[in-house]
C-alpha cells in the first residue's frame, strides 16, 4: 500500500454534493476533502467554494485526488472554474475493472463497492433521509447545511476505507489513465450537444398526433399495422394500431426476403434482428425506425438544459467492453436515428462528426499483425480489397463496378469479428449458407494470422480467466463464456480505449467535444474555423490510434454541419422528412381551423 501512495506527497479523498436538473450543468452545494495520511479535513459550503480560484488542496503531479465516480466531482471543478487535478484515481472505474464480467450483487455504487469488500455502510433509512434533504434544493438552514456536509463527509469516510481495501490489487499507473478519462467525461458532459430547442418543443407538443400519423405514413408502404380496438369508421391515422406479424410475413414473402426465425418458428421480431436486416435490406430500415420510435422513444426524457444543450451522464466504463453506456432515453444519440436531426449548431457555430474509418477492421489488422489485413486497411477500402485478395473480384474492381460483392465481403469481414457463423451470415447477406461458408473460408484463408491471433485470445481467456486491453481494462471470464464475445473483445474494448484516449487528448487541447459516440467524436466550434477544429480532432484521433495500436494509424472521416443546417444521420433522414411533413400538415390544419372559426 505504502509503495503505491509514496508516489504522492498528498492523497486527497474528495466528494461534492451538487444539484443538476435534466440537461443542466452541475451546481456544487458543498465539498468535503480529507487528506488520506494526515487526516487533514476540509469542509466547504457552495458560497465558500465559489470564492476560490482553485481547489483548496494540492492538485499537481505530486498529489492524487481520489473519488468515486470522479466525473461528478470534476464537473464541479468545471462549475467552479478550478483547474483540473493532474492525477485522479477513481475507485468506481477500478471497481468496475476488478469485477467486470463477475456478478456484483450489491451493484456499483459506493455502498455496493464497500459491501463487496466487507466494509459497513450506513443503514438505508438514514441514507434515504439525507438524500431527501439533499434533493430538496433551494435555501438551506444552518442545521441543514451541517447535515448535508455530514452526508458528504460520510462518502469521504467510505472512500477512506475503500482505498486501502482496493490498493493491494490496484494497477495504479493505468488507473490514473482511467482517471484522466473521467476528467474528459466531465468536460464532455459540461459541453453537451446543441439542440434545436424550438423544433424539440414542437415535437413534444405534437407527439401523440405525430405517432399515429407516422405509423400510417410509413405503413402505407408496408401494410403491416392492423387496427387495434378501433371504433367503426376510424382510420389508421385516428385510431390505435398494432404491428401484425402475419401481415409482416406476407410483406416479406412479396419482397422475397428470408427473415430469421426464433426456435418456435415464428419470425424474430427483436430490434437486433431488425437492425441487422435493415443493413442487408435498406427497404426494411424505415419500418425498423418506426418500430423503434413507437416502442422505445420517450421523447420527454431527452435531457435538454435551459441553454438548449443535451446533457446526461455518459456512464463511462459501464459496458463489458468498457464503452460508455449513456441512457438511451436521455442521450440524443440514444433514441431513434431520425431524432438526431434535432442536433443543430447555434448561429455562427458548426458541429462536426469525426469518426474513425473502419475502426474495428483496422484494430484487428494492427493487433493481429496479419500482413494481408494490414494491406487491406492501407488500401482505403478494406472490404473491396478483401474481395480482391480472396480472388472473388478482379484486381481492377471498384466500389461501383462490384458494389454487391463488396457489400457481402464487408458483412463477412465484420461478422467474423463478432464470431458470426455461416447460418447467421447467410441470413445477413440473404445468400445460401453454402455461400456464407465459402466467404468464411475465404476470410480464414486470406487472413490466417488474424485467425490464429483471435483463437489465441479465446484460449488465453479460457486458460487464465480474463482478457485485457492495452491499458488493462479487464474482462473476467467464467467457464460458460461465450467464445464469440471473447473473440470480439479485443476489437471492441481496444476501440473503447482508443476513443477514451482521443477524448482525453481532444478535451485537454481545448477542443469542445460535445459527445463521444461509439467510434466518433461530435465536436463544435465557430462556423468559420470549424475546419481547424476538425484537423485538431483528427490529429488527436490519429495519435490515440497510434498509441493503442503500437504505431498503426487509423484514418477518420468527417461530416461538418454549419448553422442553419442540422445534423442528420442518413439512416433517419427519411423518417425526419416524414415527421416534417406531418408537422406541416398539422400546422395547416390548425391554421385552417382558426381561419374557419
Amino acid at each position: 500500500m505504502s509503495d503505491l501512495l509514496s508516489h504522492f506527497r498528498e492523497v486527497w479523498l474528495v466528494d461534492f454534493e451538487f444539484g443538476a436538473g435534466p440537461g443542466e450543468r452541475p451546481e456544487p452545494r458543498c465539498m468535503v476533502a480529507v487528506e488520506f495520511r494526515t487526516g487533514t479535513k476540509l469542509r466547504f459550503w457552495a458560497d465558500q467554494l465559489s470564492c476560490m480560484s482553485h481547489a483548496p488542496f494540492s492538485t499537481g503531479r505530486d498529489a492524487m485526488l481520489v473519488a468515486y465516480y470522479a466525473s461528478a466531482e470534476l464537473g464541479c471543478f468545471l462549475a467552479l472554474n478550478w483547474p483540473m487535478p493532474a492525477r485522479v484515481l477513481d475507485l468506481f472505474t477500478e471497481f468496475r475493472t476488478a469485477t467486470n464480467g463477475r456478478p456484483v450483487p450489491c451493484g456499483y455504487s459506493l455502498l455496493g463497492a464497500s459491501a463487496h469488500f466487507g466494509i459497513d455502510g450506513i443503514d438505508s433509512n438514514e441514507k434515504d433521509e439525507m438524500r431527501k434533504l439533499a434533493l430538496r434544493g433551494g435555501q438551506y438552514t444552518e442545521p441543514e447545511r451541517l447535515s448535508l456536509l455530514e452526508y458528504c463527509q460520510s462518502d469521504v469516510v467510505a472512500l477512506s476505507k475503500l482505498l486501502p481495501a482496493m490498493l493491494p490489487t490496484l494497477d495504479l499507473a493505468r488507473a490514473l489513465l482511467r482517471g484522466r478519462y473521467m476528467a474528459a467525461v466531465a468536460r464532455m458532459e459540461w459541453e453537451g450537444v446543441p439542440i434545436d430547442v424550438e423544433q424539440f418543443q414542437i415535437l413534444q407538443e405534437n407527439w401523440q398526433a405525430i405517432r399515429s400519423r407516422l405509423t400510417a405514413e410509413v405503413d402505407s408502404e408496408f401494410g403491416v399495422y392492423a387496427p387495434a380496438n378501433r371504433r367503426p369508421g376510424e382510420s389508421l391515422i385516428e385510431g390505435p394500431s398494432s404491428f401484425s406479424a402475419r401481415r409482416f410475413e406476407q410483406w416479406l414473402e412479396k419482397q422475397n426476403i428470408h427473415w430469421p426465425r426464433i426456435p418456435s418458428g415464428s419470425l424474430a421480431l427483436d430490434d437486433d434482428t431488425f437492425r441487422q436486416m435493415s443493413r442487408s435490406y435498406p427497404a426494411v430500415a424505415p419500418l425498423r425506425e418506426l418500430r423503434h420510435t413507437l416502442s422505445g422513444l420517450r421523447l420527454f426524457d431527452l435531457a435538454v438544459g435551459a441553454d438548449g444543450r443535451n446533457r446526461c451522464l455518459l456512464s463511462p466504463f459501464r459496458s463489458i467492453t468498457g464503452r460508455n453506456q449513456p441512457s438511451n432515453a436521455r442521450f440524443i444519440f440514444g433514441p431513434s436515428c431520425w431524432l438526431r436531426g434535432l442536433i443543430r449548431p447555434a448561429p455562427d457555430r458548426a458541429v462536426a462528426y469525426v469518426d474513425w474509418s473502419q475502426q474495428e477492421f483496422g484494430i484487428a489488422a494492427a493487433l493481429s499483425g496479419d500482413p494481408a489485413m494490414i494491406q487491406a486497411y492501407a488500401s482505403g477500402d478494406p472490404y473491396l480489397t478483401f474481395a480482391k485478395q480472396a480472388g472473388a473480384v478482379p484486381a481492377g474492381a471498384t466500389k461501383k463496378s462490384h458494389c454487391q460483392e463488396r457489400e457481402r465481403f464487408k458483412v463477412c469481414a465484420l461478422a467474423v469479428q463478432y464470431g458470426m457463423e455461416s447460418k447467421s451470415l447467410a441470413e445477413a447477406i440473404n445468400q445460401p449458407e453454402a455461400y456464407a461458408r465459402k466467404l468464411l473460408r475465404l476470410h480464414r484463408e486470406t487472413y490466417p494470422r488474424y485467425w490464429d491471433w483471435s483463437q489465441a485470445a479465446v484460449s488465453h481467456a479460457m486458460l487464465v480467466g480474463w482478457l485485457q486491453t492495452v491499458f488493462g481494462w479487464r474482462f473476467h471470464v467464467g467457464a460458460k463464456a461465450n467464445h464469440r464475445s471473447l473473440a470480439n473483445f479485443p476489437m471492441q474494448a481496444n476501440g473503447a480505449e482508443m476513443l477514451r484516449l482521443a477524448c482525453c487528448l481532444a478535451t485537454e487541447r481545448g477542443i469542445a467535444v460535445c459527445a463521444p459516440v461509439h467510434d466518433a467524436l461530435l465536436v463544435e466550434g465557430p462556423a468559420d474555423t470549424i475546419e481547424a477544429v476538425v484537423r485538431a480532432t483528427q490529429s488527436a484521433m490519429v495519435e490515440a490510434s497510434r498509441v493503442v495500436l503500437s504505431g498503426f494509424e487509423l484514418r477518420s472521416d468527417t461530416k461538418i454541419v454549419r448553422y442553419p443546417d442540422r445534423y442528420m444521420d442518413p439512416r433517419g433522414e427519411r423518417l425526419w422528412g416524414i415527421v416534417g411533413r406531418i408537422l406541416a400538415d398539422l400546422r395547416a390544419q390548425r391554421t385552417g381551423t382558426v381561419s374557419a372559426d
Binding site: H7, L42, R43, G60, G137, P371, A372, E445
Partner: protein, 233 residues
C-alpha cells in the same frame, strides 16, 4: 433543481465526525494548492517517480495473447487427401518433406493405408505407388497429398502427371488444383496476390507421417483391411 448525489453514503466514522471542524484557513490548507499539471512543483527528491497517465505509450500492455501464455496450436491429425478444388495450397520443398511409398486405398471407407515394404510384393495388385507430399492450405492446416506414380510397368497417366506438375508448381506459389474433365487432367490456378509464405508446423516429416497413418498402417497380413480383401471375417 435537484441535488444529484449518486453515491451511497458510507458508514459514519465517529472520530472523523468529531474531528470535523471549521476548515483550516484556506492559505494553510492550500499549501501547494495546484492548478493542474504545470503548477504545484515537483515531487520531493526522495519521492519515487509517480506513474504518468500522460505517457500512455509506456503503459501499453501486449495483445499478443499467444506469446504471452505460450499457447500454440498442437497438430493432432494430418489428413491424407487431395487438395479441394477451391482451396489454395502450397507444397513444402525439399526431399526431406516427401516420401515415395506404396499405399492401399480402401474404396469403401475412402481411407488410405500405408503399407509396410515387406508386404508390397504380396499385395502388388492391391496397392499403388505414390509420392506423399507435405502440403498445407491457407489456414496453415497441413495434409499429405498422395500423388500416384507410374506403376511397375512404367505406364503413366495424364491425371497423375498433371498432379505431379501441380505439386512442383506449389513448391513456390500458392495454387488451386481443379479437375479439367474435358482435358482429362488437372488444371492449375496460381494466386495473383502476393501471399505470405506458409507457416509450417515444427514437426519432422516422420512425425507428420506417424500422425497421418497412426491408425491406418498395414504391417502384417492379419490386418482387418486385408482380411476383408481376402473375404475373411
Amino acid at each position: 433543481m435537484t441535488t444529484n448525489n449518486r453515491i451511497e453514503p458510507g458508514n459514519d466514522d465517529q472520530n472523523l465526525r468529531h474531528k470535523a471542524e471549521i476548515p483550516a484557513p484556506l492559505q494553510a490548507a492550500r499549501s501547494g494548492a495546484g492548478n493542474g499539471d504545470e503548477s504545484n512543483g515537483q515531487a520531493p527528491p526522495s519521492a519515487p517517480t509517480p506513474p504518468d497517465p500522460f505517457s500512455p505509450e509506456s503503459l501499453r500492455l501486449s495483445q499478443d495473447f499467444g506469446s504471452t501464455l505460450g499457447v500454440r496450436k498442437v497438430l493432432t491429425t494430418v489428413p491424407v487427401r487431395k487438395p479441394h478444388k477451391q482451396e489454395f495450397i502450397r507444397v513444402r520443398a525439399g526431399e526431406d518433406w516427401r516420401l515415395q511409398t506404396c499405399v492401399l486405398e480402401d474404396h469403401v471407407s475412402r481411407d488410405t493405408y500405408l503399407v509396410d515394404k515387406a508386404l508390397w510384393s504380396a499385395l502388388f495388385n492391391e496397392i499403388c505407388r505414390v509420392c506423399l507430399f507435405t502440403a498445407c492450405d491457407r489456414q496453415g492446416d497441413v495434409f499429405l497429398w498422395p500423388i500416384k506414380l507410374p506403376g511397375i510397368d512404367g505406364r503413366s497417366n495424364i491425371w497423375n502427371d498433371s498432379a505431379l506438375a501441380a505439386a512442383n508448381h506449389a513448391l513456390s506459389r500458392w495454387i488451386r488444383v481443379t479437375a479439367n474433365m474435358s482435358a482429362g487432367s488437372y488444371a492449375v490456378f496460381e494466386a495473383s496476390a502476393d501471399l505470405p509464405e506458409p507457416a509450417w508446423p515444427e514437426l519432422t516429416f516422420t512425425q507428420l507421417l506417424k500422425l497421418a497413418f497412426r491408425d491406418r498402417s498395414i504391417s502384417d497380413s492379419s490386418h482387418p483391411v486385408l482380411q476383408a480383401l481376402r473375404g475373411e471375417r
